[in-house]
Amino acid sequence: MMHPAMSITAVAILITMSLAMIRAMLGPTVFDRVLALNMFGTKTVLLICLVCFMMDRTDFLDLALLYSLINFIGMVALLRFSQYGGFDAIDASSDEGSTTGGTS
């Protein structure tokens, strides 16, 4: 009885992933794309959880856990790069670093 609900949720998550990808393609600034990437990562975590339950192999839930962490770390690293322009400004406390990014 659970499979119809899970199929509906899977279709809804895939629709949301396509909408996020549309925004990632369109977005005029880099922040729109980062937002779409964040949403894409969260939806991938949900999709992996759903697929694990649909395949009846719940050992694969570790992959969803790993993904949620990597999504977060990747996004914070991307924002730091966009703000500071490199790894250097993390150490140089007196230097603000260059504040240009990929805003286009």
């Binding site: 980062v34 322009g85 670093g97």
Partner: protein
């Protein structure tokens, strides 16, 4: 499960086309991250969680961050509000070559490869040659050959197919050296860079590195 498989493959195709066509390099790096997310889900559906783990950790995490680090080392032009301009990275098409020829070569190679896969056994077939030839003898012989080691996978990786492991270790070592080359700072050449700073009219890419290291070294020398 087909209701999930077909949209994922369609999204993979759309992402690949977008990576090829988009002009902004930051966006292209983000789309490679999206591609890696999708392929990890695809590998999970194909029942390969260890490959999906590796794809998640390497593709979505490390490779995206390393590409961003590489992009940040490129000198930025400071005109029209800064940022990486599209004209920095435009490649000039070779005169006289058309796109149609490359497209035909790519499609022809893909068609030949697809034709080659039609001969392969079915997915998970138990009579495939890979399942028949090495498996029984390895499983039977490993206990005696390895002096009682119960793990057959380790025996295959380390002893029966040891040359593969040697090749893989060489590849990983080369990759580690390449990563260190991208991420290092020029701590040996900070004097040379300080001299270059005043004389060269280069982009601002090396300047934050040189300024950061000179400030750090002066702090260390003062303390």
């Amino acid at each position: 499960m087909e209701i999930i498989v077909i949209p994922i493959l369609a999204l993979l195709a759309v992402t690949a086309v977008t990576i090829a066509r988009i002009r902004n390099l930051w966006a292209a790096v983000m789309f490679t991250g999206i591609y890696s997310f999708l392929s990890a889900s695809w590998m999970l559906i194909l029942d390969a969680p260890d490959v999906a783990f590796t794809e998640a950790a390497v593709g979505a995490g490390i490779a995206t961050i390393l590409m961003l680090a590489t992009l940040s080392l490129v000198p930025k032009n400071k005109h029209k509000g800064g940022g990486i301009q599209n004209s920095d990275f435009e490649t000039k098409r070779l005169r006289g070559r058309s796109v149609v020829g490359s497209l035909i070569v790519a499609l022809g190679t893909g068609a030949m490869l697809v034709y080659g896969t039609l001969d392969m056994p079915h997915f998970g077939d138990s009579h495939a040659p890979i399942q028949e030839y090495p498996r029984p003898s390895f499983v039977e012989r490993s206990q005696g050959d390895m002096h009682g080691l119960p793990n057959v996978v380790t025996a295959v990786l380390a002893s029966y197919r040891g040359y593969d492991t040697l090749g893989e270790t060489a590849v990983i070592f080369t990759a580690g050296i390449a990563v260190l080359l991208i991420l290092r700072r020029n701590t040996d050449d900070n004097d040379r860079d300080a001299n270059l700073e005043t004389t060269s009219s280069n982009g601002g890419g090396s300047k934050p590195i040189a300024v950061a290291t000179t400030s750090k070294n002066s702090e260390e020398a003062a303390s």
